[in-house]
Amino acid sequence: MRRAIDDAAAIARARGGDLDAYAVLVARYTVRAHRAAFLLGAGEESDDVVQEAFVKAFRHLSRFRAGEPFAPWLLRIVANETRNVSRSRRRRAALALRIPSAEPSSVAPGGPVDEALAAERRAWLVAAVNGLPDRERQVVVCRYFLDLSVAETAQVLAWPLGSVKSRTARALNRLRGLLVPGEQDRVTND
């Protein structure tokens, strides 16, 4: 019978051509890869991007260094595929991220006024992220929406560590300018 199979074992077996083992990895990482593709701008092509990424990842498994986490390695391929589709298309406006209208039942307790204000603030923040320059937006997506570390972000976006740090700082500064009243001048100066 099938026992618990961890990533390392699945990868080792997939390298040997075991498609069952690879299917475990595909099932395990599809949602995460799809979320990354969508948030990085693949839009309605996210499923295609993820499918392509999994096929390419399998072909390149021999280059995967054993013992490293699989997710950032896979997400780098996903990010690359996403770039390919968004380069061949120029419909950035249609890809703006958004928050679905709040469901009252799932909002944390704290009073309707607080909820409304918090919701408004979040919607504002999303709009601000949508308005960031491309690279700063990418770094925000990786660091905060995909919960990747600085090192993982560098790997996924194929940037040097320093660029991840400086672009993150610039993005945060810009967002702060948009969020904190009286700091707007920072944005125009930036």
């Binding site: 990533d7 498609l19 069952d20 599809t30 096929v55 799932s106 945060l172």
Partner: protein, 256 residues
């Protein structure tokens, strides 16, 4: 001059909160498609674009063919309808269901990584998702935060049904939190407050999956009673205890 780290933390935590709420369309299940493409490729049924394709095909050809046959047999055995490769990997709200026995149970008391007993109020500060408490059960006897705030567990020791445990986690996000080894015939779909849930009858092997996708050996255990899994937009919950389906659903519906 304001504290630089202070405002950065504030913006960062707001961004994280926003990230949890972003609308992301559901991902299609690609397991079968990817598998078919790779099997075709390896068997040389189609010219493969992409680097190294040809070499890859020659090297793996016969082995992959054997794998394909074996996989088809496995499929036929596993699913009379021959419908899906996903049958042995079924994902719901951060919980992965598999058929068959799980890993060896922990020889000592099974525990999640980094368990820390705390109060409900403190727990609300330590985890990044809203903690839901079922009004039907009232305040939990014990609250345990695990794995650096990735999971919170509410423990009720004295209920009319005996011990009840509720684990909560941000299950709508990417990877798995728990892996369960079940007979699919023991699993039924249910509805909790208008959203889908799963009811698992009887004990089964359970193991916690860490952030790296590795099962935490020390967490492997056999569950008690029955289990209900359901989710709201921000949090996934698994309720475990010796209570029937109707009682479990009543508890779940009262969670807020």
């Amino acid at each position: 001059m304001t504290d630089r780290a202070g405002w950065q933390d504030a913006v960062e935590s707001e961004l994280r909160a926003v990230g949890r709420e972003l609308a992301v369309p559901p991902a299609s299940d690609l397991t079968a498609t990817v598998r078919r493409r790779l099997a075709d490729e390896a068997a040389g049924r189609r010219p493969t674009p992409g680097p190294g394709g040809g070499v890859f095909r020659r090297r793996l050809g016969w082995r992959a063919a054997v794998v394909v046959v074996a996989a088809m047999l496995a499929l036929l055995i596993a699913t009379p309808q021959g419908r899906a490769v996903i049958v042995h990997v079924f994902r719901f709200a951060g919980v992965e269901l598999r058929q068959g026995p799980g890993p060896a149970n922990s020889p000592t008391r099974a525990a999640l990584p980094g368990e820390r007993q705390t109060s409900l109020e403190q727990a609300r500060h330590r985890v990044s998702f809203p903690i839901l408490v079922p009004a039907a059960l009232g305040r939990p006897g014990d609250v345990v935060v695990s794995d650096g705030g990735r999971v919170v567990s509410l423990i009720y020791r004295r209920t009319p049904h005996g011990l009840i445990r509720i684990d909560e986690f941000a299950g709508h996000l990417d990877q798995a939190y728990f892996e369960k080894f079940v007979q699919l015939s023991d699993v039924t779909r249910v509805e909790v407050n208008g959203t889908k849930g799963l009811w698992i009858k009887g004990p089964h092997d359970l193991v916690y999956i860490t952030r790296n996708g590795t099962p935490a050996v020390a967490s492997a255990r056999l569950t008690t009673g029955n289990t209900l899994i359901w989710a709201t937009r921000q949090v996934a919950l698994r309720l475990e205890g010796n209570l029937g389906k109707a009682a479990a659903l009543a508890v779940a519906r009262s969670a807020r």
